[in-house]
Symmetry: C2
Subunit: 216 residues, 2 copies
Amino acid sequence: MKFLQSFGPNPRRVRMYMLEKNVQVPSVELDILGGENRGEAYKKKNPSGQLPALELDDGFVLAETVSICRYLEELHPNPPLIGTTAKERAETDMWIRRVELDVTGYMLDAFRYSEGLKLFENRVRCLPEAAAGMKEKGRDGLKWLDGLLAGKTWLAGNRFTLADILLYCDLDFLGSVGQPYDTGLKNIDAWFKRAAARPSAAASLHAASAQTGMRG
Amino acid sequence: MKFLQSFGPNPRRVRMYMLEKNVQVPSVELDILGGENRGEAYKKKNPSGQLPALELDDGFVLAETVSICRYLEELHPNPPLIGTTAKERAETDMWIRRVELDVTGYMLDAFRYSEGLKLFENRVRCLPEAAAGMKEKGRDGLKWLDGLLAGKTWLAGNRFTLADILLYCDLDFLGSVGQPYDTGLKNIDAWFKRAAARPSAAASLHAASAQTGMRG
């Protein structure tokens, strides 16, 4: 297998996941800031032009952060980061969807349409007119998650899961590009600090973070 | 188990999935058009206020369409609609994400912010200013999927999967509320007709579809 990766919050999700798993996969670095992932060579592998991707030994290219982690979870079940029973796995999936579809998806798109516009305007269709409202939707979502975290250590209760990894990597990145979470959200704030204290958090940061000031 | 459901494209996804599986779960009907799902009684079960949800025998409420289907897939593996190997399951997950995150998620939000505004403006934060652009992003996404479907029967090749169910239910609904797909997309069009011809397609439509003119 080869892990095709780069700087950025999406590749970082998988790096942090692999560090938590203690799984090593040989990686190939692409220049995402220079747009190498939008070139024809890479798009033959992943037609979405997004990073990261996992190239399997049979040549099949698996894209999408969560799909890559699901695959690795089946190869390396321990420690479990999705779940050990059907119910646990489904519950983790529910939290993954709540994080992405109701919270950070809006915030990351809003970044592309505002602070990140110069980087993204020639890569994807950008909607600057939507940025302010999508940031608001993200803030609504975080406030909602804050309530749901009451009395819990992690999103799925006592289990640290892939859903926490996604939320942590996304919020850490967003905080560095103009969308810090409201530290008045006490449950989110305490949860964030717990996640940030895991060794995988610092270890998954790409070297380009220091140069760019963006945490990815 | 109890299936908490209603009219609408999201509950329909799970209905179609269960019909394909020949799985029956006793269901409880909620009045989504009247907003019963946004009331406190239901939000105690699913704090997102979204339908459907699956209430397990131990009282745990599993929300999110795809999470419910994942759970049922583990209880009832045949016929497989996610996959029979780690690679197949991860590939299906990749297609689910491409469908939702790159295509229909934008279109469904755009519906809420435009044609569906009267229904949604008191339920969720709506961004009318984003609707036109999000419809464009959906059209971009469909054109992209059209290319990826070339030479294939279903999104994951020869396997009919949950990803096809999501795309079909979403596009069928969207076509009835002002966002028909471009029939000039020949691969999408042929794929849609293949999906629509499955007995589960008609059988999963809610009775309220006839009254509302919306296919959900």
